[in-house]
């Protein structure tokens, strides 16, 4: 039982980590003016619109899909473990 909880918690933490890394870091990125002055972009605005308006949604969905598959696999593996006792 503890092993199932541990593996499910690990899957959850990986997903949350991916969310924090890919989405949660954006405000920090936006607040660094160097990122934009160094590039050719005239202003950060188009990048911000693209990132927050469109790009984050498929990223979040993919994280969610990975988690759902992983969680179901954990449960199946645990079911086999219990049956094999």
């Amino acid at each position: 039982m503890r092993s199932l909880m541990r593996s499910q918690l690990r899957a959850a933490m990986v997903s949350l980590g991916a969310l924090a890394l890919l989405v949660g870091s954006l405000p920090l990125l936006f607040s660094l003016p160097e990122v934009f002055t160094a590039s050719d972009l005239p202003s950060p605005a188009p990048f911000v619109w693209a990132a927050l308006g469109v790009a984050v949604y498929p990223v979040m969905w993919l994280i969610a899909r990975w988690y759902v598959r992983r969680a179901e696999r954990n449960e199946r593996a645990f079911g086999k473990l219990v049956e094999g006792r």
């Binding site: 499910q8 949350l16 969310l19 950060p44 605005a45 469109v54």
Partner: protein, 581 residues
Amino acid sequence: MNQAYAVAAVTAVVLATVLIGALGLRISRTTSDFYVASRSVKPGLNAAAISGEYLSAASFLGVAGLVLLQGPEMLWYPVGYTAGYLVLLVLVAAPLRRSGAYTLSDFAEARLESPQVRRLASLFVVGIGWLYLLPQLQGAGLTLEILTGAPDWVGGLVVALVVTGAVAAGGMRSITFVQAFQYWLKLTALLVPALFLTVAWLGDDAPRARFAEPATFREHTVVTVDDTVRIDLDRPLRVTVTGTVDDRRHDREPVALDAGVHRIGAGTSLAFPAHARVPEKAGTDRAGASSWSQPLASSREEHPLYATYGLILATFLGTMGLPHVAVRFYTSPNGTAARRTTLVVLGLIGAFYLLPPVYGALGRIYAPELSLTGEADAAVLVLPDRMIGGVGGDLLGALLAGGAFAAFLSTASGLTMSVAGVLSQDVLPSRGVRPFRLATVLAMAVPLGLSIVTANVPVADAVGLAFAVSASSFCPLLVLGIWWRGLTPPGAVAGLVVGGGAALTAVMATRAGLPAGGWSHSLLAWPAVWSVPLGFLTMVLVSLATPHRVPSTTAATLARLHLPEDLIARDGTGVGGGAGR
């Protein structure tokens, strides 16, 4: 805008809601049907219902209004609303379903075996529910006022009556059909006009919304101010005035206003020449022109990075504790279905949120004066008339009005449903269908009364408040309850009171205008950054201090939360703690 079309669209939405609700009434027979639709709702239907319920007025109108006012940094609101579902999915979705409880209070009692925790949780469910219902009713009032000129309490009353009727009559099963229908209605109502508006925008040589400077009027524009406002001009301005400016009456006279603050009386019309800058409202301390391009939360904040993270934490973690969101998971047949349903929900609301920013950006170009009249929430509604006009514009406007009303109705019914569920179980003396109907009336009467006596706050702002309280109270309770064996009833009580109470106090203090500015203002206006850790910490520390109060049933309860249903069916609850690797 043509009132007849709009009224017809709103009436059609209301009628459809009542009809589908009545359809549900014929198959809704038992108490279980009432509360959780007998737990037999399929993922596709359930996901559309969840999305329909979740996409409130704040999403349909509020996001576009905020983008119009403050630029792309406001896109964090829809991102946060969506990410909240991802966090909910990975941390609580399946266990919440497997806990087998009807409401968040049931979960608290099942996990902690304590009627005391249950009562406190019920208090928070009702409180958060009412906090969230309030802006729905006010938004409905604003919408109907703009569309038809009716007094602003009428819209709220219409929503309250329809929702009370539908929920009291059919309970959860009929509401499920109503909300699934309303998701598709809302998506259509936003998508079709957006396509036409984009075509009109392209036909207009695709002017860019300028983010780095103040908005300007594209053509000669007459703006009528409903409430007295103070405007701050950074350069002299010539306008034609009918009404009072700086306490002097004018009647269609050209007036030269100097740079500085001017007071525009209620009911005054200002005629701006083409290409004039839209004046900034004084007193809101909005930072200068450059703030529009800063992708951080509210530009009026002095610590924007902190405010953004406050918003992110509140929305990411607050979603799981919203009463109308949580109650939906009990309607899935099992934990696996609950997870898959959430995945579909993420896709549906993600698709929806691609649209409001389009309206916000177009509103900045074509309807900039909304920021002056304080009706930015109406940007979505006025754009078709402004950009397309004629019968086409009227029809599209009517479609949007219908969609907006669907938004008020669906979110309000979900909230009423969950608040009424808790009231009928924990407050009223007896259970069953009749007390539930009584509780429905009670659940709606209080926020309706409040919405009439309190002043308007921006829809998305008021919703943010509910998220902050939810993130600081129910998020720790759910996460620790599901993943930590050491949680005790005293710990849960302390965490709920300290975390939720701190967030509530902080936001109320900001509303009352207590700290005028600086760090203390930012800290109180965006409490989630410190109140969520505070809630978690209190819950953990008090639980550790009272180890003898860990419920004896903890191991069995956790097994039930995490084991797939088919294993339990085969094995009883007996896959005890020892089955490790």
